[in-house]
Symmetry: C2
Subunit: 218 residues, 2 copies
DNA sequence: GGATATTGGACAGTGACACTATCCGATAGT
DNA sequence: ACTATCGGATAGTGTCACTGTCCAATATCC
């Protein structure tokens, strides 16, 4: 398969495919001549993966490069997941004192929840930054325990995901990693969309006089 | 308060504040002279809101402008929430046929869940796009019902949020809207971070041979 | 076998984005 | 009086994700 066919099958323009090749998101095809390369099914899957990561999960090229790099280096599932989780987060930047304090509390919570908390985990970092922002702007003095419902909700969806994919760990190993990456990223927008819609519904309900029980008579 | 003080109190550079003024994210201060303006507490809050939306929620200036615009126009909570929910989503772009089909199913699901599904809702759009991507790349033929756990999880967290903020609808009306926007956006990264950490834990557990049963004793 | 199209690869250019810098004449503070 | 800072307008910067152009070397069609 040459690049024009790869382009046809994936809907990605040749110019963009070349760009991905340059950036290392796509492995070079096997050269059959100085100016003739051959691409296979794995290239098609990879190109689609990159597009999904760009358009659905909104990752940057650099973030995707980190993931495909781990994939191409043949790393273990654990490492690929770690890299992917980190790719979804943001650049470090040192914590402010307030964030340091929040970090300590967050770590404590994560420990009681039995969640991993690699020091450099960007998910942990994101948790700290957001939690601190919430405390500063929305609920001063909010205890970390207030985050437990979010952890529970996350646990519930992950449990549902596992239940829905019984064979996940026993499929073609070449594709397990890709699928894990896709599963991790593609469902994020779904979860957020439902939360947003639920918030909207909440307001609608309120305006219709169906004030939630807890809330005052306003 | 003049612009330099506003800058000091918010940590936003004068150049950036001027940029926000130009873009309409920040209302102009009251002029006391052709080149002297006075800013107040609401400007401090607004500048902080903009920063939180940029740095924590990762919204673009255009998305933030849509939100602050609704805020400044004095729109009702319902409209502000709608605008905010939409700001969190992405550009429309016409649906592909496959997405149209997915949209019909998603709408059916939303109806049974009692969630609002404004045709132009970007949350709905995001749901459709992501669901279709999942079906195309991960689980061909996946029924929409598979999304129910996500809706349930979202409902759970929103319920917890409402329970945690009893007086939400009966506070200073000027700030209710700002707080609603912050609540909607600031907790998103938290929910996602927990899901990512839970996925990581899942893999660790698996590697240790502790294949997750239905519900662990935890 | 000769004309035309396409290829892989290198490199320059583009448009959007979020600032950042510079300049201006007017005013504030000392 | 004189320096610093002001608001406002305009231009410039760096990054990002492509996109376009050029090249000599094939491939393809007649």
């Amino acid at each position: 398969m040459k690049i024009s066919e790869l382009s046809d099958q994936t809907g990605v323009s040749i110019a963009t495919l070349k760009f991905y090749l340059r950036e290392g998101l796509l492995r070079p095809g096997t050269l059959t001549a100085p100016n003739q390369a051959d691409y296979g099914e794995s290239h098609v899957r990879r190109a689609r993966l990159v597009r999904a990561l760009r358009e659905v999960a909104h990752l940057s090229i650099a973030q995707i490069a980190a993931i495909t790099g781990a994939l191409d280096r043949g790393e273990e599932l654990y490492d690929v997941m770690g890299v992917t989780v980190d790719s979804l987060g943001e650049r470090p930047a040192a914590f402010t004192p307030a964030q340091e304090a929040a970090a300590a509390e967050v770590d404590r919570l994560l420990a009681t929840l039995g969640l991993p908390a690699r020091e450099e985990s960007l998910a942990r970092q994101q948790l700290v930054v957001s939690f601190e922002a919430v405390r500063e702007m929305l609920f001063p003095g909010l205890p970390v325990e207030a985050l437990v419902p979010y952890a529970r909700a996350a646990e519930d969806v992950v449990r549902a995901e596992v239940a829905a994919t019984p064979g996940i760990f026993s499929v073609d190993p070449e594709q397990v990693l890709e699928r894990a990456v896709l599963g991790l990223t593609l469902f994020e927008p779904i979860l957020l969309a439902f939360r947003r819609l639920t918030h909207e519904k909440l307001v609608v309900d309120h305006l219709e006089g169906t004030a939630p029980p807890e809330a005052g008579p306003d």
